[in-house]
């Protein structure tokens, strides 16, 4: 810890706390999860960045979407995302959540994940190397520092549109809206 970071700690301890203690929820979608075990265990050791996996969304604040998202998985992803406490950060891992990837013409795979939940950052590649996760984490640090990782605020403000998009796929959802459905900006 040098002088500037100590200054930052005194200025905004909450921001620094969120930065250096990113807890990722155990959630495996698709093939990308195979890159995560080496990341959290001895080979690459994500714990030195403060990233540890936790088993329940109530304790997590980082959501790695690892790989293609089918419709059934998307339902679970939305529920998990809504259970996580604010502030929360989402990172799409691999090319499939970005635009469908090799499943671009599949009948059951989501093409653009950010139509349904807000995503703060993407890692491209098929598959990305485990080091890419660390680059994503350090990018997320700078984004949190500059106040750019505001996906959860966007979700609250534009919840109506996100919910509409979700209901276009699933019909009526079986859980009540998380936020009031009217638009804040009128």
């Amino acid at each position: 810890m040098d002088r500037t970071s100590i200054k930052k700690w005194f200025k905004a301890p909450d921001k620094m706390g969120h930065k250096y203690s990113l807890w990722a929820v155990y959630f495996c979608t698709g093939c990308g999860i195979i890159e995560v075990p080496p990341v959290i265990t001895s080979r690459w050791d994500a714990e030195r960045f403060g990233v540890i996996p936790v088993a329940t969304p109530r304790q997590a604040n980082l959501f790695l979407i690892t790989g293609y998202v089918s419709l059934k998985t998307l339902k679970a992803i939305i529920r998990t995302y809504e259970l996580m406490p604010d502030p929360k950060y989402t990172v799409g891992f691999g090319s499939c959540p970005i635009n469908g990837g090799m499943y671009w013409d599949s009948y059951n795979t989501i093409k653009h994940l950010d139509k349904y939940i807000p995503v703060d950052g993407w890692i491209s590649g098929c598959m990305p190397r485990p080091e890419a996760i660390f680059i994503a984490v350090t990018h997320l640090w700078t984004m949190i520092d500059k106040g750019m990782a505001t996906g959860y605020i966007k979700y609250r403000e534009k919840y109506r549109y996100y919910r509409q998009n979700q209901e276009k796929l699933f019909g009526k959802l079986e859980w009540p809206p998380l936020y009031p459905m009217e638009d804040k900006n009128g």
Binding site: L71, W104, S106, Y107, I110, N165, L169
Partner: protein, 164 residues
């Protein structure tokens, strides 16, 4: 694979074509009516495990080909695969359920109903297994246009940013 089983099958059932393409594999092509009796016949012979039910869409012939793959757990010499094929009409797309012979046919038949739209008569619960949405044409049929479907459903959902 022994020749005796082949002979026995050919003599017992009519319209049965048996071939032995490889050492541990036997392909039986049968007509629609005899499939269930062949299944129970093979089960009594010791082939007591249904590995898989699959389906092929022959769109030019207007046929669906159902494929039953059997093997044996109980005897070591019989750990070979018997592949039982039958063709059914594509338009009608109906068949009898095999649950009475092999109970584990239930999820496979449900899957085929979902992906190919084949109705298995006598199946207790033909509902969704994997899919979340209802499709007009079942998505594994050859005439299902995936690109058209993606354009119609996924591409029409707007980005949230675009709505100002």
């Amino acid at each position: 694979m022994d020749e005796s089983l082949k002979k026995e099958l050919e003599t017992t059932f009519r319209n049965v074509l048996v071939s032995l393409p490889e050492d541990d594999r036997m392909v039986v092509a049968a007509s629609e009516e005899t499939v269930l009796s062949i299944l129970s016949f093979l089960k009594n012979k010791g082939y007591d495990h249904l590995e898989l039910i699959s389906c092929v869409d022959w769109i030019e012939e207007k046929k669906f080909e159902l494929v039953y793959i059997l093997t044996s757990y109980s005897e070591k010499e019989m750990r070979k695969h018997i592949i039982l094929k039958t063709k059914i009409s594509r338009e009608k797309s109906e068949f009898k359920t095999a649950i009475s012979v092999f109970e584990n046919a239930e999820p496979y038949e449900r899957e085929l109903h979902e992906l190919f739209g084949i109705n298995f008569k006598g199946h207790p619960k033909l509902t969704h297994l994997f899919l979340e949405r209802d499709y007009k044409i079942p998505p594994f049929r050859k005439d299902f246009d995936t690109r058209e479907y993606v354009k119609e459903v996924f591409d029409k959902i707007p980005f949230v940013e675009d709505k100002k």
